[in-house]
Symmetry: C2
Subunit: 481 residues, 2 copies
């Protein structure tokens, strides 16, 4: 029997049947002119209603896959485009071309954070940066998506906008998101990107050349380090103290300084106001550019967070990077850059070559999601949950892993822990996984990973409250082995 | 009055009112604790139903923007997060930083195709690559989007997939799209990109180094030339004859050859089978990599198109680039690369740094759109329309601009025209625009634009049938001036 229905699947019976018939026609299992089972017999065979079969058959007639045949039967449309010859060779990865010798770069060889692809299936997922999908305001997003897809709205955005962004989204960022961070700019100072990561990539590709020095926090965001490194930069580590990154002598020799002043990735330590003013004034003195990644700025739910470093910038020396993926859903891939108009113009031209623009349907849906207040509501909801969960984490950590967590008054969604000297977080992560606990080894955050194998990160955005004490207790038991 | 309703807008009254109240709360015009107009008075003032006002107020209570006050009034939630100081400086683009001296590249200075941003408002839009939004099967796309956004499906894709693609979309490409082009590969040979342009950018960033020679058709796709150029390549022009690009002596010295064998961009001339075999065998002889952009392959509605060049490749020397934006809607930005596994692995790592992945909601919606046959139905519908429109174009061109169009038996959505010697298509485009006619000057398609100012392109995917003869007649009149 060609068709079968799986009632355990989340897709509707109608959709399953339609998909199967379409596949059979396209891949030639049902040849042009072939008669389909009658609606009566198919409904009986599959144990589904005859109406469902009729609806599916008729929609396929309308779409040209089937035609109505004599006496209410249905046939595959004899005019259905004949299949191309399937005579091509099956590509085997023949070892003829020496690919590695042709690679201009080796991004695949860089150290980076990794987590199991199926982390959602583990009972204790202390992963970072993945909000719980169950908390997402799906009805509100759906409604915004529906509005964005109305026929008239679609005319606005279905075309390739070449180099332009959705003006509605730029407006929301300018009027609602940036003012909260103390940033007041015009539309021409804003560029939409495919996530904050893409923003950093664009900035590095546009500005960084082989041999230029880029300073960044140690520990710091590994993806940023990898991006600068890929573009040929020499990385200068800026050590952290309890006030944030230090402006060292080495910093003075850099062309660019990449910082996360809101709260350091990964330790979550915010940079104090005094330190920020030092960075701004030294950057002026040494004619440097500061790149500020204000990631997760919306999760500063403890002490009131300082405005962005960019808000202290009167010379256009700070390039500001923001993210919408983090605060909506990470798979969305939307972020933005705020900077000097000359820079934004050039980055726009570069983005045109790289991808033209972020998908316009998502830009429009997101602008509606923000303008109608759903983004705010969602953030407030998440912060209430994170605040409570953070306390549970503190209680469990102080009980089972005392002295290991590094302090910060930011809030956020993770803790940074220093394991016992000589311990190896790679081993710990492996053992933990066997026990259903997902943790992130911390060494990729360091320029010299080998000296920092004892650090690790515990995220709490995806783990259920009640799993926290249990998970931390189990983890502590593994550390004692 | 704070709120007003504009009945001429396409957004609903409810949505307009909600958006306005949210904005006023967020930007502090309505301060925490402020009393809102009563539902009765607001409905009277705005001339809308009281129920609408009640619905909006209540949804805002639910979302924490408002609270219910005494005697059925509504107030701004006094706990609404106090506004951050708006004390930051307004960023003026101070000429302090010498930005141009800091640019590692100047993408903004490259020659490229341009069209007026408001081309949709002109009566004769002979633009290329922008399908008519009125033809798009909006209900089918909406239904797929709805299915992709169901709660269960969303759990699959709302997380950041880091480096992975939606397996359902990869499956559809592998089983439905590639076999039609004679390509049979495994999932590991496929990488999803943010459009075909992004595919070319990734390939160039991964493989091209300063001083390497890249051959490409002359005329050819300007964005590809700009991408290779930006990565430091020396461009070697491959002249065209009626069989497609020529494999010249210069071609033999190249590391990479970029070709559009399906139909040359912009002339629409397909490469013959003999010529394809020559490229494959020479590439083997000189150990070269061929980059095949199979753009608009679905629009080969005249003679049956040849399978892709990739289908002749037994050594993994051909990197194949396909697009989904062209055949669904250009603003979607989805494409794919097919290549050797070693190359795909490295490109995946590079894409992880550049943007992680294409937005996962769009990947899922697109996979459903293909699997349920809507993609096929849409392409068949477009091709019927394009076929008829192409004949109208030929009739009008042969009547009013005889001898100017370059022949091709592919189909497609445009004509390439050679204007009179000495004519300047930039001047023609400018004059045409004044008369409501949008055309594309052809010179950016050439390595040396100055010698080819008389070429131009007329697209016919966005222009209404009945406008064609009139538009061409007017254009011809301008050319005779």
């Amino acid at each position: 029997m060609l068709f079968s229905i799986d009632r355990s699947l989340k897709t509707s019976i109608q959709q399953q049947l339609r998909t199967k018939i379409v596949s059979s026609v396209i891949d030639g299992q049902l040849v042009p002119g072939a008669l389909l089972p009658s609606t009566r017999s198919l409904s009986r065979q599959l144990g589904i209603s005859r109406t469902t079969v009729v609806i599916v058959y008729e929609s396929l007639v309308e779409d040209g896959f089937l035609i109505a045949a004599d006496r209410s039967g249905f046939k595959v449309n004899p005019d259905y485009p004949a299949e191309p010859s399937s005579s091509g060779p099956v590509l085997n990865d023949a070892v003829v071309v020496n690919w590695p010798s042709r690679f201009a770069k080796r991004p695949g060889k860089q150290a980076n954070i990794s987590k199991p692809a199926d982390w959602q299936s583990y009972p204790y997922p202390f992963v970072y940066g993945q909000p719980d999908p169950a908390l997402f305001p799906l009805p509100a997003w759906r409604e915004c998506s529906r509005q964005a897809m109305s026929e008239l709205a679609m005319r606005d955005w279905s075309s390739d906008a070449i180099a332009q962004d959705d003006p509605l989204l730029v407006h929301e960022i300018k009027t609602k998101l940036l003012p909260r961070r103390g940033i007041f700019v015009s539309e021409d100072n804003i560029l939409i990107t495919a996530g904050a990561q893409n923003a950093l990539y664009l900035i590095a590709a546009q500005l960084v050349e082989k041999g230029l020095k880029v300073g960044m926090e140690e520990p710091g965001y590994p993806d940023a380090r990898n991006i600068f490194d890929l573009n040929g930069a020499d990385i200068e580590p800026l050590p952290l103290d309890e006030e944030g990154a230090l402006y060292t002598n080495g910093a003075a020799a850099c062309s660019f300084l990449f910082v996360t002043p809101g709260h350091n990735a990964p330790t979550t330590i915010p940079m104090t106001e005094e330190r920020r003013l030092e960075f701004i004034s030294k950057a002026r003195q040494f004619d440097q550019i500061l790149i500020e990644d204000d990631y997760e700025c919306e999760a500063g739910y403890l002490d009131r967070p300082l405005p962005a470093l960019k808000s202290l910038d009167t010379e256009g020396r700070v390039i500001y990077v923001g993210s919408l993926s983090k605060s909506i859903f990470p798979g969305l891939r939307l972020g933005y850059i705020v900077g000097d108009r000359q820079l934004i113009d050039e980055l726009r031209a570069l983005r045109r070559l790289m991808m033209r623009h972020a998908p316009s349907n998502n830009q429009r849906t997101t602008s509606l999601f923000i303008s109608q207040g759903h983004h705010d509501t969602y953030i407030r909801k998440l912060n209430r949950i994170y605040k409570a969960r953070r306390l549970m984490m503190i209680n469990a950590l102080d009980k089972y892993l005392p002295g290991m967590r590094q302090g910060s008054n930011f809030g956020g969604t993770s803790f940074w822990l220093k394991g016992p000297d000589g311990s190896d977080s790679r081993v710990l992560a492996r053992e933990a996984l066997k026990n259903g606990i997902v943790i992130e080894p911390g060494f990729p955050h360091f320029l010299d990973p080998r000296k920092h194998l004892n650090y690790f990160r515990l995220g709490f955005s995806s783990i259920a409250d009640k799993k926290i004490p249990e998970g931390i207790r189990e983890l502590a038991a593994l550390l004692k082995l």
